[in-house]
């Protein structure tokens, strides 16, 4: 046991010392902690008027959805490789050591709980939203975090157990799939019945939130009900459901430890797969295609183009080979469907474009992170683009044409569908398309500028932080001008405002691209720091 305690304590100590040695990491963590503190302080001063507060049942629903999402991921992992609770160093050093395999399992689960805590860190940023939306304080945020950590820890153990029980046994895998679907059937039926009764999707959902079928849905229902009960001051109810989570976790651990002390083989595949993914990423393959086990059928072959143009044709070949719809796979379809559903919820009466603006705002936030999925930015992590004997500018342009084309078509579909549902005027839809497309163009520019300015010699986390900060800073003048000028023009003000924003985005993007000129020979080829020596 002492060796495991030594490992845990020494790893924690070394992580802290590393933080002190790396100013970039220290700044990032300081900013995160300051952000949490700032939001907490802000939440103290955020006034909430009773009439605008949402029903706390919606918070329960949101938490249910969040945990259900993690549940689906955990079951999926369990049916493929199992969850990762060990590092490769544990496999190489601990598994072959004369330490009890049960104690090693306990050590793995303790480390896993740390990961669950880190995964729930984003909840701490929600104190202001919880205050303004539900009238809840920071204590409620901590309760949500507690429920989330308990649920995610349990799910990680569940994933391990599923893998151990179903590995190499298709019949058992089928049973787990059936069981996982059956768990949610009563709730789905309740929502269906409520919808049939009321005819209003929102009311049907609201009624289902109070249903015992939601409360007793394993893990997601227990976690959401436990947290909601504690927030409402029902300590007994809260402890019952959160206790159920803790008890289930303990029983699963007990089962694994007693029934299968030789679990090493069960965790080995997941650990090796995770290690291999990290290795591949560290070597420059930052996409998921390299480590995906999906079978790909090679039908059409060949690369078009000449000189730098070949990069674009290569991207097209890669995209169409990787998914049937080429540039527009499931994420694009989900984006359009999501925008359509959001438009339905926002209402179909149109008005002064306010609802389309809400959708635009949501999509712009999402695009800040989605723009990095383009092949152009990923190309920077491989040596090929640097060595092609063409001008840096031509290579960057052709390398990003694929994402530009993808975004343009996506934008037309998203705002076309949403505009029709919201019954917005054509001019407004066109202005939203222009603002969104040019925003994507600006994001590309800011991405390159961040890389150019930092020289990539900083941690990925800090780079993302700088990037988001730069986006907000660069967009702000255009946004202020759009609001100030647009507000003077009455009904057409929204269109004029969006036009001004689009123009600003274009100018800012061009300036960003001009400033990041020569990125291919003025900054180090970036590499992803995976935190592992590979």
């Amino acid at each position: 046991m002492s060796s495991l305690v030594f490992l845990l304590v020494r790893s924690a100590k070394n992580s802290f010392l590393e933080l002190l040695r790396k100013p970039g990491k220290l700044i990032l963590w300081s900013l995160v902690l300051l952000g949490i503190g700032g939001i907490f302080v802000l939440s103290l001063f955020t006034g909430e008027s009773a009439e605008n507060l949402l029903d706390p049942a919606w918070l329960k629903g949101i938490l249910f959805l969040l945990v259900a999402f993690f549940m689906a991921a955990a079951i999926r992992k369990g049916l493929s490789n199992g969850d990762v609770i060990f590092e490769m160093s544990d496999v190489n050093l601990l598994f072959v050591s004369p330490v009890s395999s049960r104690l090693i399992l306990l050590y793995g689960i303790l480390r896993m709980a740390k990961m669950a805590f880190l995964a729930g860190f984003f909840i701490l940023f929600q104190s202001n939203s919880l205050r303004s939306g539900f009238g809840l304080g920071f204590d409620a945020v901590l309760l949500v975090l507690l429920g989330f950590i308990l649920a995610v820890s349990l799910l990680q153990i569940l994933s391990l157990l599923i893998y151990s029980l179903t590995n190499g046994n298709p019949a058992r895998k089928r049973s787990v799939r059936l069981l996982a679907t059956a768990i949610f059937l009563p709730l789905a039926a309740t929502i269906g019945v409520q919808f049939a009764k009321t005819g209003d999707p929102l009311l049907a959902l609201e009624n289902a939130l109070g249903s015992p079928f939601l409360t007793w849905t394993p893990v997601a229902g227990w976690a959401s009900e436990g947290v909601a009960a504690l927030i409402a001051g029902d300590a007994a109810g809260g402890l019952l459901f959160l206790g159920l989570l803790a008890l289930s976790g303990a029983l699963l651990i007990l089962y694994i430890a007693l029934s299968n002390p030789d679990y090493y083989e069960d965790v080995l595949v997941a650990t090796e797969t995770a290690f291999e993914k990290k290795r591949v990423i560290a070597e420059g393959q930052i996409g998921t295609e390299a480590s995906s086990s999906k079978k790909v059928k090679v039908v059409k072959t060949g690369i078009g183009g000449w000189g730098a143009k070949a990069i674009f044709y290569k991207h097209m070949r890669e995209s169409f080979r990787s998914q049937r719809l080429g540039l527009w796979g499931w994420p694009s379809l989900l984006l359009v469907a999501g925008a359509a559903v959001t438009s339905l919820f926002l209402g179909g009466k149109g008005g002064e474009g306010g609802k389309l603006l809400v959708l635009l705002q949501i999509l712009m936030w999402a695009q800040i992170f989605l723009i990095g999925t383009g092949r152009g930015l990923k190309e920077l992590y491989l040596h090929y683009i640097y060595l092609i004997p063409e001008s840096s500018f031509r290579k960057i342009v052709w390398s990003n044409l694929e994402i530009a084309f993808k975004v343009l078509v996506e934008t037309l579909a998203v705002f076309g569908v949403a505009g029709l549902i919201m019954k917005e005027p054509l001019l407004l839809i066109a202005a939203a398309i222009a603002a969104y497309t040019l925003f994507s163009f600006l994001l590309l520019g800011v991405n390159y500028l961040s890389l150019r300015w930092t020289g990539t010699n900083i941690s990925a986390g800090l780079l993302v932080f700088i990037y988001i900060f730069a986006v907000i800073l660069i967009l702000l003048p255009g946004l202020v001008a759009a609001v100030v000028i647009g507000s003077r023009f009455g009904d057409v003000g929204v269109v004029i405002g969006l036009g001004i924003l689009a123009l600003w985005e274009l100018i800012a993007a061009l300036v960003c691209f001009a400033l990041s000129r020569g990125i291919l020979h003025r900054c180090d080829m970036p590499s992803v720091k995976t935190g592992n020596q590979v």
């Binding site: 090679v298 070949r317 890669e318």
Partner: protein, 237 residues
């Protein structure tokens, strides 16, 4: 052909390459030796234009970031990273198109045959083993007919046939007047054919050794250990 003058590369406070000067002429095989962490890969990446640095690097008289220099350069990286969704044949086609090569098909076929990849033309990058990926990486670097070739641990992961073929290819390149800079830990693999060896320790070139400089009974391995182990013994560490 490859000319490095007073090149320094820092990672924050760490000096990875400290005032390096080296040159490799046409028809010359230069070997870069050094213990782990000596700065060999950093030097190679800087020469290939993948890292920023202070100092000057020219390939065939052209600054290393220019298109003219890149046209002369072939690079085999330490890790053979391929595009997972391209077939082996498409990797070569992409290089040919991007480098604007005319009548490249015969040469591509020849390279694939030489490295026993001709039956794997339709295999995707992600379906290949590490060794196969390394062979494709070598083929990609040689397809444009470079006049300066830089290889970082090129023999790692190759099977015996691949090692033999690559060693032969290296000799052929040298005999055709190509400048070669090869970093390796496998001293015995270059023992017979090296012309000049740069031994790096802690970011600096500790010794430049020409074949004529060493005694007849002395091997490159002896020279290497005399420099690196002698250094570490006297090191206060």
């Amino acid at each position: 052909m490859i000319d490095v003058r007073e090149m320094t590369k820092n990672y924050g406070r760490l000096v990875a390459n400290d005032n390096i000067t080296l040159s490799v002429g046409g028809g010359e095989l230069a070997v870069l030796l050094g213990p782990n962490g000596a700065g060999k890969s950093t030097l190679i990446k800087s020469v290939c234009g993948l890292l920023r640095f202070r100092g000057s690097v020219t390939i065939g008289g052209h600054e290393n970031h220019t298109a003219e220099a890149k046209r002369l350069l072939g690079y085999v990286p330490e890790f053979p990273v391929l595009y997972p969704m391209l077939t082996v044949a498409e990797h070569l086609e992409f290089i040919a198109k991007a480098y604007r090569l005319e009548a490249w098909q015969d040469k591509a076929e020849q390279l694939l045959r030489r490295f026993e990849l001709d039956d794997k033309k339709m295999k995707l990058g992600k379906e290949l083993s590490k060794g196969m990926q390394q062979k494709v990486s070598v083929c990609c670097s040689l397809l444009p007919g470079p006049r300066a070739v830089i290889m970082d641990e090129p023999l790692v992961g190759l099977d015996p046939h691949g090692i033999r073929e690559l060693k032969t290819a290296i000799l052929e390149l040298r005999d055709s007047g190509c400048a070669l800079l090869i970093s390796t830990h496998m001293i015995e693999s270059v023992e017979e054919n090296w012309d000049v060896t740069y031994i790096m320790v802690k970011g600096r070139i500790e010794r430049v050794c020409r074949r004529a400089d060493i005694a007849a009974d002395q091997s490159l391995e002896d020279v290497y250990f005399a420099i690196t182990e002698g250094k570490s013994q006297g090191d206060p560490a």
